[in-house]
Symmetry: C2
Subunit: 212 residues, 2 copies
């Protein structure tokens, strides 16, 4: 296999079209797209059917939980209908991947609120594009005791946290954010200054560190 | 966005199915598949329609050129029907990407023969799975003067070259392989020994190196 060509001259319009559509996916360049599409050509027709049907079915039939906005096949997701989950604690996350990550830790028994993104003026995403309004409504209802912010520790994440925090200030609830610090198993000397600084500032009683 | 979870607990069967099918593509793991699928959910439904239609159309309607076995929308590809291409020289390549790469150099005016792979016993690919027989038939017809081997310089590529070479030995035609050597622009000291050795063994007259 040769490896360096700058422009792509396709011998087939069908191939060109498939590669173009595939390369619209994030992180998939034209060359990777070509490799993926040629792979499908080498597999049985059934394989392509399965892939395209699964994608179409997902895109057309997917629902979002009415309560937490997580991806769900039904009106209310498994977590929201689970009577063992504490509905008075709401963990605010960016998308479904974060819910999956936190669920994997088995450390959280509250509910979630999926924002569907972060405020990012550069990408044209404002508060109205996220599910912030529905979170405020939820807090207004009076059943919420604590809102945990669990967004990425980036400029956009911090902006979004702060925006929501300001909206919630007037309500008599606890707000918290997940702890930032040195990752378990990491060497101190390789930690960045900001993280190390925060981990000293927000130190926890030693007894607490013995739990879990 | 959180980054380390070992198992994936999906809140939606539709999502799980789409991620599974996506992760069947080569080089796409479950996490990448999830990222791609979530991207489609954030785009308009039309985007997914375009992607799936292009893939299905390609898979069901694609043709392979009757002469050179390259991917084509018609019975004979553009290169094979082009009267300016020299049909007496056949360049043997692995797949359509190699045709595209060589076409991009604008250095070749002959025709191609696309094998559709390399002989690879470990992957269960034998000579009968490739288009070798049709190449022999082409040579038998008597119109071919030269066959150029342009396969990857790997164990499988060399095996395939040699297998075809033995099949063609009895015919009165020239066989050649593309030159292996130090890539243009590369430093000698970083070249591997085998490549450097071959490039000395197969040195070319200095005047030739001045062309193009």
């Amino acid at each position: 296999m040769f490896s360096n060509f700058t422009t792509m001259e396709f011998s087939s319009k069908l191939l060109e079209q498939a590669v173009y559509e595939m390369s619209q996916l994030p992180g998939i360049g034209k060359r990777t797209a070509l490799r993926l599409v040629l792979h499908l050509l080498r597999q049985s027709e059934n394989q392509t059917q399965l892939l395209t049907q699964a994608l179409l079915k997902l895109r057309t039939e997917i629902k979002f939980c009415k309560n937490c906005h997580n991806i769900s096949d039904v009106e209310l997701c498994e977590i929201c209908v689970n009577p063992n989950r504490d509905a008075s604690i709401i963990c605010v996350v960016e998308d479904v991947r974060d819910v999956m990550a936190i669920e994997n830790t088995s450390q959280y028994r509250g509910q979630y609120h999926v924002l569907g993104g972060k405020i990012s003026p550069l990408d044209g995403i404002g508060p109205q594009d996220l599910t912030i309004y529905s979170l405020i409504e939820k807090v207004k209802s009076g059943f919420v005791d604590e809102v945990i912010f669990a967004l990425s520790s980036t400029m956009e994440g911090d902006t979004t946290n702060f925006y929501i925090f300001r909206q919630l200030e007037s309500f008599n609830i606890k707000t918290s954010t997940i702890a930032r610090g040195i990752a378990v198993g990491d060497e101190l000397e390789f930690a960045d200054e900001v993280t190390l600084g925060r981990s000293i500032l927000h130190r926890v009683p030693f007894e607490n560190s013995l739990k879990s």
